[in-house]
């Protein structure tokens, strides 16, 4: 009787095909998954990035990048999404570059100074990310046009959510309740709005953008505070109403 009992599988054995390109959490124990670009693609895109201020987010920039990296113009066929690959690469590399700002993430403790809180770190990192667009901000509207195309929108949105997750994570946020979601959603909204504002900002050192960003963070604090108060009031009222009904003999 060599019949082996077989455990019912809840899902079919999946083929060990490709590694997942994104991991929805940060891990200290495992190396990060490979990014969306292989080494060849990265080398072409990396060579193309310096040409964006002159040639914009276009196929020409890709071709120049390919020839700078030792490839030929035909090799741009490596990028099925064409110029959007440049946008994606910019979003991806700028997001990863945030982890380099160690003076914000873990500042050296100073005598007689209060250490910077999570909120302050979030603000500082968001500003650093916006400054990552400094060189190409006059071309960013081209990128936004590409992002808005329906076939590219999912990638762009997931990059935005990864960005806000990255900022909160690097700032040391450890929330495990619904605020995990609201924090990320509100930061995404603030970032997207400020980035759009920045495309038309002509002030020196982007001072207007800075003010705009500060106002948006204040708005969120006010809205968040109000939301908290409303929730508290609604909870209290509901409990009180329940107790009144119970005191009248209603069985609930």
């Amino acid at each position: 009787m060599a019949t082996r009992t077989r455990l019912a599988r809840l899902w079919p054995l999946s083929k060990p095909s490709a590694l997942p390109l994104i991991r929805p959490y940060h891990s200290y124990d495992h190396p990060p998954p490979p990014g969306p670009f292989n080494p060849t693609e990265s080398s072409i895109l990396e060579a193309a990035i310096p040409h964006i201020p002159t040639h914009g987010f276009t196929h020409t920039t890709l071709s120049i990048g390919a020839s700078d990296a030792g490839y030929i113009a035909a090799s741009t066929n490596l990028f099925p999404n064409g110029a959007f690959s440049l946008v994606h690469y910019h979003l991806y590399t700028q997001r990863l570059a945030l982890a380099k700002h160690q003076h914000i993430i873990s500042p050296p403790p100073r005598e007689g100074e209060k250490p910077i809180g999570i909120g302050g770190k979030v603000k500082a990192l968001t500003w650093e990310r916006l400054m990552g667009n400094k060189e190409i901000i006059h071309r960013w509207q081209e990128a936004l046009a590409l992002i808005a195309q329906p076939s590219h929108l999912p990638t762009a949105i997931s990059e935005l959510s990864s960005l806000s997750d990255e900022i909160w994570f690097l700032s040391g946020d450890t929330s495990v309740d619904t605020s995990w979601y609201t924090k990320r959603a509100s930061l995404s909204a603030i970032y997207a709005a400020t980035e759009l504002f920045m495309t038309t900002d002509k002030s020196p050192n982007f001072d207007d953008t800075r003010d705009f960003l500060d106002r948006r963070f204040k708005d969120v604090q006010i809205v968040g505070g109000t939301m908290g108060s409303v929730t508290q009031w609604a909870g209290f009222t509901a409990t009180a109403a329940l107790n009144v009904l119970r005191s009248k003999g209603v069985r609930i």
């Binding site: 196929h59 030792g70 490839y71 030929i72 113009a73 035909a74």
Partner: protein, 310 residues
């Protein structure tokens, strides 16, 4: 009832098993011989010709027979069979390749090779795109086909284009598995549209493509593939196995060739498998490696030849 009595013979004609024994499917007789108990000697390498198994040495001649038969009515038939969609596929294929694009205004242009390009419809599109969109009048193309009848059709058609007798367009009768006349590392773009299915040895043809391409050059293939949606697949199978041989009989007067066509489509490796064949030949594939057209009836496969690291 009247309708039925008209339609039934047509439907019946569309099913292969109702074919009279003396049908023009001259190939099937010899195939039956090869499939009979007295099998061909085992050491003879075989390949498939539609659903039949034939010795490798024989496939080339048979494919030649098919395309010699259909050369003249080739495009009319394509229009009927695909309801005109093949033109959209070809346009999309060429647009996605963006031939003639360059990083500097005075680049030498692209050197392209259109394999199995007989009637030239891909080649003329490639040249049009390079000239009109990317302003690259120096891009050139070689149309290669194993079948002189198909190539003659292409030459005839080229006379109606602006590339007639120009140095930008050349013709070459050659087997895609042995392109001796073409130098290694000399081609920017290698295209094969609805052709690789008929090759006797696809791996060898892919290796040959890898050889002739410049480092960084692109292999691009437009070919029938597997429909991904099972419901649509059922409808499509009905269409291809019943209607296409029938249309072939009515329009081109040649049922056997179109029976072969649908069988060879069915036999051709599906998307993932063909992608892996391209990878095995040494190419890098962009993204997942292919793009489905019309739910996977056709697919565009691409591969880029890597540059040697200095």
């Amino acid at each position: 009832m009247v309708f039925r009595s008209i339609v039934r013979p047509l439907l019946r004609a569309s099913k292969p098993q109702y074919l009279p024994a003396r049908s023009p499917r001259c190939f099937s007789k010899s195939a039956r011989l090869t499939e009979s108990p007295s099998q061909p000697s085992n050491h003879e390498r075989t390949t498939h010709f539609g659903f039949e198994t034939v010795p490798e040495a024989e496939k080339e001649a048979r494919v030649a027979g098919v395309f010699s038969n259909v050369a003249a009515s080739y495009d009319t038939m394509n229009d009927f069979m695909s309801l005109g969609i093949h033109r959209l596929w070809k346009d999309h294929f060429v647009r996605s390749l963006n031939p003639g694009s360059s990083s500097s205004p005075n680049s030498p242009g692209w050197k392209m090779l259109d394999i199995a390009g007989g009637t030239g419809d891909i080649a003329f599109r490639l040249l049009d795109h390079a000239t009109n969109i990317n302003n690259s009048p120096s891009s050139t193309i070689t149309i290669s086909d194993i079948n002189p009848a198909m190539l003659a059709e292409g030459k005839k058609r080229s006379l109606a284009t602006s590339y007639a007798n120009s140095p930008r367009l050349s013709f070459l009768v050659a087997n895609a598995e042995e392109l001796e006349t073409i130098e290694s590392n000399s081609i920017d773009l290698y295209t094969v549209a609805f052709g690789i299915r008929n090759f006797t040895n696809k791996e060898k043809a892919l290796r040959e493509a890898f050889r002739v391409l410049k480092p960084g050059g692109v292999f691009a293939c437009l070919e029938f593939s597997g429909v991904t949606n099972p419901l649509f697949d059922a409808v499509y199978k009905r269409w291809s196995f019943s209607a296409i041989p029938l249309i072939g009989q009515l329009v081109a007067g040649d049922r056997a060739s179109y029976q072969y066509l649908v069988e060879s489509i069915e036999k051709f490796p599906k998307q993932e498998e063909f992608r892996d064949m391209i990878k095995d030949a040494g190419f890098m594939v962009p993204g997942k490696g292919w793009e489905d057209l019309t739910g996977g009836i056709a697919a565009i496969h691409k591969g880029v030849k890597p540059i040697e690291k200095p």
